[in-house]
């Protein structure tokens, strides 16, 4: 039991003492999660918009597929990305295994369906009357599009936060593709896995607390942004 309390104090100790390994893991985690989140928004936002805005024949099937992709296990994505970027894989020449770029690819695949699905749902929730009003006011297509996007900005923000939370906390992709290399691809979650494996539970709990704090700060700043 004492390692739970010890972990709590250790968290402060690690951060305040500026422990290199800890700060490196924090920095790597933030960097990689932010990049993956933005990439997934870049790809997922237009896709989600198209799916939500237009009606087409296989829309329902596409939504089912998308919802299934929400349940993709991270270890499977990790394995698939590993197979592709391993030296003997189709993309082996690029030398992406054990790099942050490799992890970013996997995490983007993980977050893409989340962003797409949430964006699509938000767009669908826009009142049809809004479009009618805009048309009757003589708004052009571009204006309607812009207004619709502006109306759903908080939905998009929610998509971003959800995606960020997912990639921030995943461990399967980072471990398999990144290789948990100290100072390079070691993230907070892979560091926790390692500390637990080594039986250093207090250190693991400390890192977990750091991770939760980051998630808290991200959400706090976003809710602040929303109030503005």
């Amino acid at each position: 039991m004492d390692y739970i309390v010890a972990g709590f104090f250790k968290a402060f100790e690690l951060l305040i003492s500026g422990d290199n390994a800890t700060w490196s893991a924090v920095w790597v985690t933030l960097k990689i999660s932010t990049i993956s989140m933005l990439l997934s928004i870049g790809a997922g936002l237009p896709c989600g918009f198209l799916i939500g805005y237009f009606d087409f024949k296989y829309k329902k099937h596409l939504r089912t597929l998308l919802d299934t992709m929400l349940a993709l296990p991270t270890v499977f994505i990790g394995l698939a990305v590993y197979a592709f970027i391993s030296h003997h894989g189709p993309l082996g020449e690029l030398g992406l295994l054990f790099t942050l770029t490799g992890i970013a690819i996997g995490q983007t695949i993980l977050a893409f369906p989340i962003v797409t699905a949430i964006t699509a749902s938000t767009i669908e929730s826009i009142d049809d009357d809004l479009k009618l009003t805009l048309v009757s006011l003589g708004a052009g297509k571009r204006n309607i599009l812009a207004t619709c996007l502006w109306e759903v900005r908080y939905g998009i923000l929610a998509a971003a936060v959800t995606a960020y939370g997912r990639v921030l906390t995943e461990v399967g992709i980072s471990m398999m593709v990144g290789g948990n290399i100290k100072y390079h691809t070691r993230t907070i979650t892979t560091a926790i896995a390692l500390e637990t494996n080594k039986g250093m539970f207090a250190d693991g709990i400390a890192l977990g607390l750091v991770l939760i704090s980051i998630a808290f700060i991200v959400n706090l700043s976003l809710s602040f942004l929303r109030k503005q």
Binding site: K31, T34, I35, L38, S86, H87, H88, G92, G95, L97, F98, T99, L100, W150, R153, G179, N180, I181, K182, Y183, H184, T196, N197, K198, G199, M200, L225, Q228
Partner: protein, 276 residues
């Protein structure tokens, strides 16, 4: 439109940060695949900075079982290997995946178990000890991950004339690293086989009062030899062979050998240097 501006400026700020971050290009250096015992004990954290400082080369490593480490080398995903499964290593070189094999250090495997020793294996030879564990159906935790340690364990069961346990309720395959397996073993108050370095690390974590004790040791078959393997440039033309060889030479140098000898926990040597 004040609302609009805040929103946009926050997003553009984030993008600028991202560009600044992605502008930092990384130096590739040497990539090594190694075993959980060299990493988990802290040996590499202690040793590698000396190598980097002396040669100016960066060395990164990923720690897995020897089985996967060899596979990573075969697929050319790394440049050099530090592993401990001599028979597999020799086959590996014969198959054209590895080139130079240099023995750099050793320790030994030991069987550890609870102090009260329910299967009464203390002081027995290794085959008798395993037979006693099996007959007593005492819990035995195995790595079960085709690592160097796991390969050795399988060999020991075979030598003892016991059919390899697999689904038996008393035989637990963790599929994890050595420290994790020792922890499972401790929770179950069972027996396991570990390299001495990992055991000393575990012992020091418990402040010298570890619930699991060394019960069987000293048999010559329990020798655990670690070697540096370079990859065959014919199989992996892109692997950094020159730097790999330099690392191999450095590990065998008097300086590195002395450093390995000086790496101690609880005053005990974890690895004994033996480069020729």
């Amino acid at each position: 439109m004040n609302n609009n501006n805040t929103f946009l400026s926050v997003f553009s700020a984030i993008f600028i940060i991202i560009f600044a971050i992605s502008a930092q290009a990384g130096n590739k250096g040497l990539m090594m695949a190694t075993t959980t015992s060299t990493d988990g004990t802290g040996l590499l954290d202690y040793l590698i900075p000396y190598f980097e400082k002396e040669t100016g080369n960066m060395l990164k490593w990923t720690a897995t079982g020897t089985g996967k480490a060899l596979k990573l080398g075969q697929n050319c995903d790394v440049d050099v290997l530090l592993v401990h499964a001599p028979p597999s290593e020799k086959k590996y070189i014969a198959a054209g995946y590895g080139k130079d094999r240099r023995e750099v250090m050793y320790n030994d495997f030991v069987i550890i178990g609870p102090k009260h020793d329910p299967a009464k294996i203390k002081g027995k030879n290794i085959s008798d000890a395993l037979t006693a564990i099996k007959n007593k159906q005492a819990v035995f935790t195995s790595r079960g991950d085709d690592s160097g340690t796991n390969k050795k364990e399988k060999l020991l069961w075979k030598n003892a004339g016991i059919e390899m346990p697999d689904k038996e309720a008393w035989y637990l395959q963790t599929g994890q690293g050595m420290q994790a397996t020792i922890n499972v073993c401790q929770e179950k108050m069972g027996y396991t086989m570990t390299d001495r370095g990992s055991y000393i690390k575990y012992e020091s974590q418990k402040g010298g009062h570890a619930p699991l004790k060394i019960l069987v040791e000293g048999d010559s078959i329990l020798l655990n030899q670690y070697s540096v393997l370079t990859l065959n440039p014919n199989n992996c033309p892109n692997a950094n062979y020159t730097l790999a060889l330099q690392f191999s030479d450095w590990m065998a140098s008097q300086k590195a050998q002395n450093l390995i000898k000086d790496f101690r926990l609880l005053g005990k040597e974890l690895f004994i240097p033996n480069a020729k």
